[in-house]
Symmetry: C2
Subunit: 306 residues, 2 copies
């Protein structure tokens, strides 16, 4: 059903060599090429065809959903709206991600809009990887939008990774966190060439004891440009922390605009940001261990992003 | 020449009980009520009457300029443009500041736009205090604008204080820092009642070894609102640090939007921000030493802002 390029992309974005266990939907070049629902997790196509509805029954534990997307056709543009309804008391892992291989001259674009409605006292781990390849002139464009609505006592951990090959991305994440709920975000971003990446977060802490921890690590190489824009709003007795660490290389440019908004006397918000290049001493140390300068650099970057 | 209210304001904003030593210009209710130029420092009125020109000769050391402004008349609105030309190799202190007493029903407003052109290898200390008093319904409005152009090797230290009584303020500071020059900013801000304060900084590090350190400490009480907006731009091998610590009390709201923009691989930029309330333990500790809760709170705030 899938060709070699698509299989390679699938491996890059979802770590899959074959069909995954559990529930899944695999989308290739705009069409579903494989789907499996399970006893507790139902995947269906929306009536208007605009995307998927994924329903996870209350109490579902230790199960996973994979919904990777691969594009290998130049000139394809698609917007997909996927909605996740996750019941109370669940413990699930959701793996999304998109890989684009573009060897053609037309731009290829996938915009995935994911909405998560998470019930009470659930734990959700969400992994999203973006990857591009292909040496065509056509650009590889990914604009993911993520909306997260956490009910009381829920914990959601989001791992957002974009390491390679995406020419242009505008990432938007919006979250509302209720009492006792917790949102953890770990973003890793690397841009190179002439790439352009904009990543924005808005997290509203709306309930007593709501907590958010948003950490972004990024590397900007060559002549790439990155903008990181994170806003944490404390509307209740809550705590929020955001951290943005960036390594700048070559002729890259980075703009970081964190925002803290405290609307409640018991909102405790903290932000840290640092932009700098790799310390010369670090490279020297690794070079005395026998690495070339290039290898030393790669090792430092890999350590930083992982 | 000045009445008791004006004298009290003058003391609050410039620490002056009488006419200061050195160069000065005292402005009261829209008119100059005293001026002194010295051998090295010339103060003159602009031809169009829009403000002052202050010229400090190269090599001027250990001298000071005071240009306080007091307003005690309700309904007065004024915009003043003061330009400072400071020669090479100077070491001077400049004290500005504005006090408004408004017992009337009309708003009183003073917008002072200060531009500093600082020559090479000079040291400048700039102190600016804003203060409001009076129980009239008319608002006390201060919108200071500050532009700073630092030539090579110069150091400028800015102390910006607004502790009390200003109903609305929009503070804008813009700076360009050349090679080897250094800008230090210490801002202390307190808002109460229904006050509104917006403070924005844009600092461009344009030369090799340029350095900026912008630190803001603020306390927002009652139903007041504060917005802090600091942007540091690294256009050269340079280092920048900005820190925003805020104490939130009562029903106040605070928004902090720092920005770091690195356009050079050798620009090292760091930001920290924290918003939170006074820790309960701190108050408890002072109360066991015999202070009332109110006194303990005041002592913590005073320590934090000084």
């Amino acid at each position: 059903m899938m060709d070699e390029i698509q299989k390679r992309l699938l491996n890059e974005v979802a770590g899959l060599h074959e069909v995954p266990e559990g529930a899944y939907n695999i989308r290739a070049n705009g069409k579903s090429v494989g789907r499996n629902s399970t006893a507790h997790i139902d995947i269906s196509t929306k009536e208007d065809g605009s995307g998927l509805v994924i329903r996870i029954q209350p109490g579902t534990k230790n199960e996973s959903v994979h919904i990777p997307v691969v594009l290998s056709q130049s000139g394809l543009h698609e917007v997909v709206y996927n909605d996740f309804y996750i019941g109370d008391d669940c413990d699930v892992t959701i793996v999304a991600g998109c890989g684009i291989d573009n060897c053609g001259i037309q731009d290829s674009e996938h915009d995935g809009i994911h909405r998560f409605y998470v019930g009470k006292n659930s734990r959700v781990k969400y992994v999203e990887k973006h990857y591009g390849s292909g040496d065509g002139k056509g650009k590889r464009i990914l604009n993911p939008g993520t909306e997260v609505y956490l009910q009381e006592g829920t914990q959601m951990e989001m791992e957002m990774v974009q390491i390679k090959g995406v020419d242009s991305t505008e990432r938007k994440t919006y979250a509302e966190v209720a009492a006792g709920a917790k949102l953890l975000v770990r973003e890793s971003l690397m841009t190179h060439g002439e790439q352009n990446a904009v990543s924005s977060y808005e997290v509203k802490l709306n309930g007593d004891g709501a907590n958010a921890d948003v950490i972004s690590r990024s590397v900007a190489r060559d002549s790439s440009y990155q903008k990181f824009d994170a806003k944490i709003v404390g509307n209740a007795p809550s705590s929020g922390h955001t951290e943005c660490d960036a390594i700048i290389m070559d002729h890259a440019r980075i703009l970081a605009i964190p925002q803290l908004e405290a609307n409640d006397i018991d909102a405790a918000l903290v932000h840290e940001a640092a932009i700098g290049k790799i310390a010369g001493e670090q490279i020297m140390k690794l070079m005395t261990l026998g690495l070339t300068e290039k290898e030393a650099e790669e090792q430092i970057i890999n350590g930083f992003l992982s």
